[in-house]
Symmetry: C2
Subunit: 223 residues, 2 copies
DNA sequence: CCCCTGAATATTGTCGACAATTTCATGAAA
DNA sequence: TTTCATGAAATTGTCGACAATATTCAGGGG
């Protein structure tokens, strides 16, 4: 029987922890893309009842990580070039808007934080070597921070609590080292610069170009 | 004990039907915005077990129609000016992108359907009188059709299966008659024209302006 | 009069069991 | 060999019950 994630039961329910744990298993490919989910088996493996597990599965479905069919069961989504393309088209629209809003609503504190983040990224050895530009998931991730600076909770929820898990799933399962490390970093700098100057229109354009370039890079890997 | 929606059990589960029914109750305000949800009471009212009801509630949560807190329960979301603004900002980004994509991928059949839809709208008496521009939910809704023409399933899901229910909730509970009826119709025509000519850039700009104008109109009503 | 404390009540989270449906295996017929 | 039917096994959908937690309400102290 496998252990669940660390969080204690006071703040989160068992279904909550199952959800977080399974989300990680799927994103990082330990539960294979396209594979069938067996409720009895998973429930046994994590020592939970089927009811609690089903609650977690439903949340995963609404995240777009599972597909469920009535009386048949759940499957992990399959990765496809089309799915990747669609994901990046949506990101281009939403993160472009996030940049526009962030430029309009930015605070002095936002700017300090964003520059602090860039400085930390710049210290990465892999980035210096140009071999990779690792985005630590969470607070220091560039896109994550920009979206939060938009001050639009719906945008934050849509991107950070929904789409980003699928993005990470594609990244993990296609390898994350990127030949675009240095140019990606430069693009990030320029975007933050535009936000700093309050130029929402430019910030949006730069972000959209950045995401298009990122997509083309991943598409290239896919072949 | 209240009746559930008509769909028979062969294709959909009980939780499915509960979900669809409750979604309508919330969108149309029969379950008041901001009110607390009592699981035992709702389960009794629809003659279902708490388990099935909870499954429906969780889906409503992921739709953004409910907010749930552990060990406390679910509440219907409250309508706010800020929520409305955020919703329209996201729509502006996503539907703008939908237009851009639709212009690039449109088929001859798409164009026939879109013009057919416009012709039907034009026959509405209320539109002729300039008092309202009623958008029948479903296949004939303008935005719905544009989004589908984008051929991006993720975009379709995000807008049509997630955001539009919140849009309809705001519309229902703030009244739907609009002084913009005639100009909205003209804007729709121009957008379809741009899509017809394959001008994605223009179609995107027009759609974004259209949604901004629509938002300002609803915001005006809110005061 | 207001605030705090603690028991009583109600609600939520979790579980195991049963019914309905699907999937799989076996074998017969074309 | 392929296809189709048939029954067995497994899986999913649904339910009611119990434990844990939150809410309510009464009473006492400040």
């Amino acid at each position: 029987m496998q252990e669940l994630s660390q969080a204690q039961g006071g703040e989160s329910s068992l279904a909550d922890r199952l959800f977080v744990t399974l989300r990680g298993e799927i994103v990082e490919g330990r539960i294979a893309a396209g594979s069938k989910i067996s409720e009895p088996e998973l429930a046994r493996r994590y020592g939970a009842s089927r009811g609690s597990l089903r609650e977690a599965l439903m949340r995963l479905e609404s995240l777009g990580l599972l597909e469920r069919r009535v009386n048949v069961g759940a499957r992990v989504v399959t990765l496809s070039e089309r799915g990747l393309l669609e994901l990046y088209e949506v990101r281009e629209a939403l993160e472009g808007m996030a940049c526009r809003l962030a430029a309009a609503k930015r605070t002095a504190e936002d700017l300090v934080d964003l520059h602090h983040m860039l400085a930390r990224h710049e210290q990465q050895e892999e980035l210096q070597a140009g071999t990779a530009y690792f985005q630590p998931e969470g607070d220091f991730d560039f896109h994550f921070r920009i979206v939060h600076a938009s001050r639009n909770d719906l945008l934050v929820d849509t991107l950070c609590n929904r789409l980003y898990y699928r993005v990470r799933m594609y990244r993990y399962q296609l390898g994350m080292a990127s030949p675009r490390a240095r140019s990606a970093f430069r693009e990030h700098s320029h975007i933050i610069e535009a936000i700093e100057e309050g130029d929402g229109e430019l910030a949006e354009i730069l972000m959209r170009r950045h995401i298009r370039a990122s997509r083309q890079n991943i598409e290239h890997k896919l072949r």
